[in-house]
Amino acid sequence: MPSRFGFKSWMLAGTAAIAVLLPCLASATLGEPEASVLTDGAQLQGSVNQSDLGSYRLHEIQLSSGTLVREYAGLDGTVFAITWHGPYVPNLRQILGRYFDAYVGAAKAPHADHHHLQVRQSDLVVEASGHMRAFNGRAYLPQAIPAGVSVGELP
């Protein structure tokens, strides 16, 4: 349903619709094992750095275009959040993996404003903003966030 204000919000009926997509994708990141970060790094032609921040691990993929992609993995090895900052929007199909289609399905146009987007589902949140030459966004799986970690405080 289009929003006059530009934001989108959908509260879908849970994880069932997403779960059926699970077996379909191989090289995804969000919701995938940590090893998929390396796949993303290769696919996006970026360099990867890893750091251990206690309750999760941070993988940074610096793209040659200038955009920085950060992927956050819990101690169970699952990527639970991804952020991007920089002059170009990265390949979201690659880094959202099996969640990309759900993102697209929820974000139907028109949007009154081309500089913001928010998709909120019970199992997937994608929020993005910015303007030409400066984009920011984050995608996370609310149910996979490690205990004690606040999405708003992820570096």
Partner: protein, 407 residues
């Protein structure tokens, strides 16, 4: 009291204003509106209107009218209204249709057709680049590269383009406007593309396939203002004050040039330099609630003030998720700081997003949460009751050298 209706709204069928109106050599929207602020007449001033746009469902969206012509022609022209005025992008992009002029597509370096994937935050727009003369009020920009969005000659969107954005926005229904006039503080839309092929940006296309390509600066889609003969160093957007409850529509002015005419003098405006590169190119810093928000920007193409304040109640309704719905409108203080270190205190209002009547399209108190912690997006509500100048990179005014914003 808040209306309890969800205002089945959001389908854009409630308003009958501002339908697409296209003609040759004249025209534009006809709206009954409060009188605009007094601006000395001149050939460098064009009307602005905040309206529901072509789909009738926009809020805090600023539109104008442009005329485009086949290069060199004064007869093969088309005037198109409902063009978004966006200081957060660079270049003119027109939807096809309503654009029906026959325009040759520019050639990429290898001689094939030059196409562009324009990535917005909420989606992508695909189409070829064509040169045209752009006429806005008395200002002429000759042979400017413009993107034609949704051109049926090039129906196939490359997969890496569609992989960047949420949805395709290649029709008026999905784009929400007949085009967008990107007149921010930069000239080209992709200077990096001059040196190398940036993924999902410019493409060289044959009928069979498209490949990423580098594009010389001169062929890139770009801000038409630097093409004007005299009033080419920037723009001024001036909008009247809007009552806290909102307004059905608002009219204002877009003035071309800064310190080039009697009606565009800088006067005592404070100049805030914009960041020229990095992750917040074109942006500023905001200090709000004792926090320094270094990823902030001022943007006529954003329809609200987007920032985070846990002390302001968010809307309970999922229809308004992410927007603020305080019980009463309150005024807040912030400071905007330019890359030159100059700061300006500002005040802004945040009201209950759910109280905006369906028939209103302007709401100064519209606020929403920011998707990133370190950002304050000063969208169109910032522009109400102000005269905001945007000076283009490399151009000088009496007040300084762009890129800057002054108000």
């Amino acid at each position: 009291m808040r209306p309890t209706l969800m205002r089945a709204l959001r389908h854009g069928c409630g308003l009958v204003i501002c339908l697409s109106a296209i003609s040759c050599g004249g025209g534009g929207s006809t709206l009954s509106a409060p009188p605009p602020p007094v601006i000395p007449p001149g050939s460098n001033v064009v009307d602005l209107v905040v309206s529901g746009g072509p789909n009738g469902n926009s809020v805090n969206s600023l539109f104008t009218t442009v005329t485009v012509c086949v290069p060199g022609s004064t007869t093969q022209c088309q005037t198109i209204d409902n063009i978004l005025v966006d200081t957060g992008s660079y270049g003119l992009r027109l939807l096809v249709p309503p654009l029906t002029l026959s325009l040759p597509v520019l050639a990429a370096a290898d001689g094939n057709a030059l196409l562009e994937c324009t990535v917005f935050v909420d989606g992508y727009s695909w189409g070829p680049v064509a040169a045209m003369d752009v006429l806005i009020t008395g200002e002429l920009a000759s042979s400017v590269p413009v993107q034609l969005i949704g051109d049926a000659r090039f129906p196939t969107v490359p997969s890496d383009c569609s992989s960047t954005g949420a949805v395709a926005e290649n029709t008026v229904a999905t784009f929400g406007a007949n085009g967008v006039l990107g007149i921010g503080a930069f000239v080209q839309d992709c200077p990096d593309c001059a040196a190398s092929a940036i993924p999902a940006f410019y493409y060289s296309c044959t009928p069979a396939a498209c490949t990423n390509t580098a594009v010389a600066l001169a062929s890139q889609v770009q801000n038409p203002v630097p093409f004007f003969a005299i009033d080419n160093n920037g723009i001024i957007i001036t909008l009247p004050a809007v009552a806290p409850a909102g307004a059905a529509t608002v009219t204002g002015s877009l003035i071309f040039g800064i310190d080039t005419e009697s009606n565009n003098q800088s006067g005592s405006q404070t100049v805030l330099a914009l960041q020229t590169s990095g992750a917040n190119a074109g942006g500023v810093t905001t200090i709000y609630n004792h926090q320094t928000l270094s990823a902030s920007f001022i943007d006529s193409g954003s329809n609200a003030l987007y920032f985070n304040d846990p002390g302001i109640a968010q809307c309970a309704s999922s229809q308004f998720a992410g927007f603020y719905c305080p019980l009463m409108t309150s005024t807040y203080d912030a400071t905007i700081q330019g890359a030159n270190g100059i700061s300006v205190p500002v005040t802004f209002d945040v009201g209950d997003a759910q109280t905006l009547p369906q028939s209103y399209t302007a709401f100064p108190g519209l606020g929403g949460t920011s998707s990133i912690a370190g950002s304050f997006d000063w969208g169109l509500p910032f522009f109400y009751n102000k005269r905001v100048a945007t000076a283009i990179e490399g151009f000088t005014t009496s007040a300084g050298t762009g890129p800057y914003i002054a108000f």
